[in-house]
């Protein structure tokens, strides 16, 4: 039996099976649940490591199962999928640890971790999908798996947030479905091929292709929070912090952005898309989202809301990188997938720490918190500076490449957008840092919990430190062979230069 054909499926199973098992555990079975969670995460990490090594040595990993007449369910490993899946796996492990600490003594943990594992399964499926129909399948599965996490607390507010989330994502999914069926009936194929598979299409179909592009991007744009499809994201912050951290800063939002990358590179092909004229509107939309998100972030007092709008803004960097249609901009956009994930998850972890340990939800309550929780705020500072684009943190690298790519392609206006965004980022992050480090401590914190001598529980403290360190490393150690940047360069070369 050819093991290589089953590894992708095994990667899926490594979170699906523990998830299903966790559903059946009683609330009190903490040990078993923690074991299953960690086992799943580590197994997945091991398998991903195996795939990394294998691809480096020229192996191919692909699972094919018949799904529809002439369309298979395909799980295939390539550089882009490896990038996304490695990010997801490492961050899942870290978030699991965080969630175990965060939800200690909360009700319904079995249900939570069960759906949590299903989400990761869906995200991994999105990463590994080898054609548009498989992508669609896991994309919709992601919607279904994240909904119970959003309404986890069971309050009326959570239910409303969930309702709005569904309105956006189900409609987005419907548009994606129409686009996919249309594309299939036009071309008879949905396989992801580098440089796309549409260059043979006759000119009379170009209007149809533009329509398909619009439908696909809109469907994906809902999850990627492109304006005006972003309305669900700030409301979804009602979910517990680990959910916000992984899913809305990394998995759901990234799945949408990842989809946009796939559609432009592996379905339409960048050169073809540029020829069709669809990339300019995408670039404008992305640029508008970048500025709009940052502007809205300025006016939020709730910390998680401010971070949510920051996400809306930052994820569009990826779309922008894709839309500028040059190899260097591609590198910037793709690598930002990783960098933004690392930085944003750090910020959300810290926000969760502040809420759990001190009951802080609003920025106005954060005076002097740097002295009470120095390590947490140190991680936060690293994340914030990365967002602003200050070297040597990872965010700087992505912005640099984006800017360079824009200049290369004579799209100088993008520089202004990037600069403006950096300024706005500074405008909404620096005051937070100033408050935390330099303002005097308040009389008392809203809702303080003590953890002995430590500033907070280990499970809550370690994850942000780890991710902050990774964000720093991704920036400092860019020249190492396995750094995200080198990888992004590999992906770009594949798309633009290989025949």
């Amino acid at each position: 039996m050819n093991w290589n054909d089953w590894i992708p499926l095994l990667v899926l199973m490594s979170s699906l099976l523990p998830g299903l098992l966790i559903f059946s555990l009683a609330e009190e079975n903490v040990q078993t649940r923690v074991m299953l969670n960690l086992f799943g995460a580590l197994a997945k990490l091991a398998l991903v490591g195996l795939m990394l090594w294998g691809v480096y040595h020229g192996h191919h990993y692909e699972t094919r199962l018949p799904l529809l007449p002439n369309l298979d369910l395909v799980l295939r490993v390539g550089p882009l999928s490896l990038l996304f899946i490695t990010l997801s796996t490492i961050l899942w492990l870290v978030t699991t640890v965080y969630a175990i600490g965060y939800l200690e003594d909360s009700p319904h943990r079995s249900r939570f971790f069960g759906f949590f594992s299903l989400c990761v399964t869906a995200t991994v499926g999105v990463a590994l999908a080898g054609n548009l129909i498989s992508f669609l399948l896991f994309y919709e599965l992601l919607t279904l798996a994240t909904y119970p996490l959003i309404i986890h607390r069971g309050t009326e507010e959570a239910r409303q947030a969930g309702k709005i989330y569904l309105r956006y994502t189900i409609s987005g999914g419907a548009l994606l479905l129409i686009g996919t069926v249309w594309l299939y009936s036009l071309t008879g194929s949905l396989e992801f091929t580098p440089k796309g598979f549409l260059f043979n299409i006759g000119e009379q179909h170009y209007p149809a292709l533009i329509g398909i592009f619009a439908l696909l991007i809109t469907g994906l744009g809902v999850k990627a929070a492109l304006v005006p499809l972003h309305g669900w994201l700030p409301l979804a912050m009602i979910a517990p912090a680990p959910v916000s951290a992984l899913l809305h800063a990394v998995a759901v939002v990234k799945a949408g952005a990842f989809g946009i990358i796939r559609v432009v590179y592996d379905v339409f092909g960048v050169e073809f898309s540029a020829g069709l004229g669809v990339l300019k509107p995408l670039a404008w939309l992305a640029a508008f989202t970048i500025i709009y998100g940052s502007l809205r972030a300025l006016f939020q007092n709730d910390l998680k809301r401010r971070l949510a709008y920051s996400t809306i803004s930052q994820v569009s960097y990826i779309a922008l990188g894709v839309a500028i249609a040059g190899p260097i901009a591609t590198i910037g956009g793709v690598v930002h997938l990783v960098h933004q994930g690392l930085m944003k998850i750090t910020l959300f972890f810290c926000a969760g720490n502040l809420a759990e340990t001190l009951g802080i939800h609003k920025i106005s309550e954060m005076n002097g918190v740097g002295r009470r929780m120095p390590w947490t705020m140190a991680a936060f500072t690293i994340g914030a500076f990365g967002m602003i684009g200050a070297p040597p943190i990872a965010g700087f690298i992505s912005k640099w490449y984006l800017g360079l790519g824009a200049l290369n392609n004579d799209q100088n206006w993008v520089i202004f957008v990037l600069a403006g965004s950096s300024l706005l980022n500074a405008a909404y992050f620096l005051p937070i840092l100033h408050r935390a480090w330099f303002m005097p401590l308040p009389e008392s914190w809203p809702d303080e919990h003590h953890f002995g001598n430590k500033e907070t529980a280990w499970a809550l403290l370690l994850p942000p430190l780890v991710t902050a360190a990774m964000a720093l490393a991704a920036g400092l150690l860019v020249t190492l062979p396995f750094s995200p940047l080198e990888w992004a360069k590999l992906i770009s070369v594949r798309e633009f230069y290989q025949p």
């Binding site: 007449p69 249900r111 309050t155």
Partner: protein, 490 residues
């Protein structure tokens, strides 16, 4: 080898009809053990379907003349891929519902339930195996009467009213159908489907027959606007009965519509006007049913209106089968099976919830996801198939219909199907959302037996798994000796 030959030559088709009839009789005669007898009969039916399936795979489609008297005077049984799939669905869903009913009904009601359910099963099997239009009339009547009796089982006011309305509608439909049969017989001297198909021409009598038969079957399948009897009947019957009605009984009349449309009335059906009309009614059903479902406050009525909407999808096969015939055909076959599985799972879950809390008000579902997780999961998974979201059988069916529509540039149908899916998501997630929240006033809870929860859940899981089984299903569907005008094999 001997055993295998015997197995092959065994008249499984006849067994499929006689066994449930025998079961009905024995349940009636031995009321004390009616549950066991019913369960055994139901299981034996599944075995018989497997046997028939094996036969079909080996020898292709199957004809059996009862008593050695062939058509046109005798009654023939005919089984091909489509009938096999319908029989299999009936067998499996019927078995799951039988298991559920062993615990659901208390003894006094059970004595009445089992014999009538067995009659219903016999009627369904006979219907799917019939090869002539008069036999179809007889089986339709048996089906209708059993279904009405089951609907009225609880004896409540709503159930009786619903059953009465259902009875009048179904009898009206049957008589209309019979009139159509009369006209066809008069024109061609035969009631056998294959013989008629060879001789059929587009005379005015035949057009009249087509109209009468079509209207009667639309009434029986509850296609908009002839759906008025369905919500009261399905909404007030006991849960397993609602499951049977929505999942199986409705599909039987639709099956007849499919058969007659594509074999008997083949020369007439290229008519633009009729196809447009059916398409229009289908779209109206999808939209109307979904919107009404969204407005319901009671769960069983929501599910009943959902059935009205799903029937609309089924009727879209007629406008779509013009060119690219077999894609739409495959899609509708897939939708029939997945809807049967998913809808029965939904009704059984509703039954569990009713049993648990004593009511089925959606807004008061009170954290059911925590207290009845298997039931909540069953409802959610079944809902995924109804919404047509991957991975599920409903998605495969929807995709195939969309593909057929796209190839003919029927954007009107595409838009309606997509809107239908979004509306379905709206009413299903409405229910799921409430299962996570606490109710305003806590209710006394009755424990629900594991049998009841698991039978619902397994049906729902089957609906999801169907999304990965297109290869076996389409292979079975291909066993047929009917080829329609567009060249597609049915």
């Amino acid at each position: 080898m001997e055993m295998q030959n015997a197995f092959m030559a065994f008249p499984w088709a006849v067994v499929l009809i006689l066994l449930p009839l025998a079961g009905a009789l024995s349940c009636f005669l031995f009321p004390r053990i009616c549950r066991t007898l019913g369960l055994i009969t139901s299981f034996a039916t599944v075995i018989a379907v497997v046997g028939l399936g094996w036969q079909l795979l080996e020898h292709g489609s199957y004809r059996h003349a009862i008593g050695g008297w062939g058509a046109p005077l005798g009654i023939e049984l005919y089984a091909d891929g489509l009938s096999l799939l319908m029989l299999a669905t009936t067998g499996l869903v019927g078995f799951a519902i039988s298991v559920y009913s062993t615990t659901y009904f208390k003894a006094a009601v059970a004595i009445k339930f089992w014999p009538i359910w067995m009659c219903l099963l016999a009627a369904l099997n006979a219907l799917f195996l019939s090869a002539d239009i008069f036999n179809l009339y007889v089986t339709l009547e048996l089906l209708g009467l059993s279904a009405v009796a089951l609907t009225a089982l609880t004896g409540s006011k709503e159930a009786l009213n619903g059953a009465m309305r259902y009875l009048l509608a179904t009898l009206l439909a049957s008589l209309t159908y019979l009139l159509g049969v009369a006209l066809l017989y008069h024109s061609f001297g035969s009631v056998d489907i294959t013989l008629l198909a060879k001789q059929i021409q587009a005379t005015s009598a035949v057009w009249a027959a087509l109209g009468l038969i079509a209207v009667s079957l639309m009434l029986k399948t509850a296609l908009f606007p002839l759906h008025f009897w369905l919500p009261p009947a399905h909404g007030s019957a006991p849960a397993p009965v609602s499951a049977l009605l929505s999942a199986l009984v409705i599909k039987a009349s639709f099956y007849i519509f499919l058969r007659l449309w594509f074999t008997l009335f083949d020369p007439l059906i290229d008519n633009e006007a009729i196809n447009t009309l059916l398409g229009l009614l289908g779209c109206a059903a999808i939209l109307w049913g979904s919107i009404q479902a969204l407005r319901q406050t009671r769960l069983k009525l929501l599910i009943a209106y959902s059935t009205v909407a799903q029937v609309g999808y089924l009727f879209l096969v007629f406008p779509l089968s013009a060119s690219m015939g077999s894609v739409a055909w495959n899609g509708v076959a897939y939708l029939i099976i997945s809807h049967a599985l998913a809808k029965s799972a939904m009704f059984l879950s509703a039954g569990n919830l009713l049993f648990f809390g004593g009511h089925d008000r959606i807004a008061d579902l009170d954290r059911v996801v925590q207290r009845l997780p298997l039931t909540a999961a069953a409802f959610a998974l079944a809902g995924v198939s109804i919404m047509g979201i991957p991975p599920s059988g409903g998605f495969i069916g929807k995709w195939l219909l969309l593909e057929a529509a796209m190839s003919q540039s029927r954007w009107d149908l595409i838009v309606v199907m997509i809107i239908g899916g979004v509306l379905a998501a709206a009413y299903i997630f409405k229910v799921i959302g409430y299962t996570f929240s606490p109710a305003e006033v806590a209710h006394e809870a009755q424990p629900v037996s594991a049998t009841m929860q698991w039978s619902a859940l397994l049906l729902a899981i089957a609906a999801i798994l169907l999304g990965f089984l297109y290869v076996p299903i389409l292979t079975l569907l291909g066993i047929s000796d009917i080829i329609i005008a567009s060249g597609a094999r049915l």
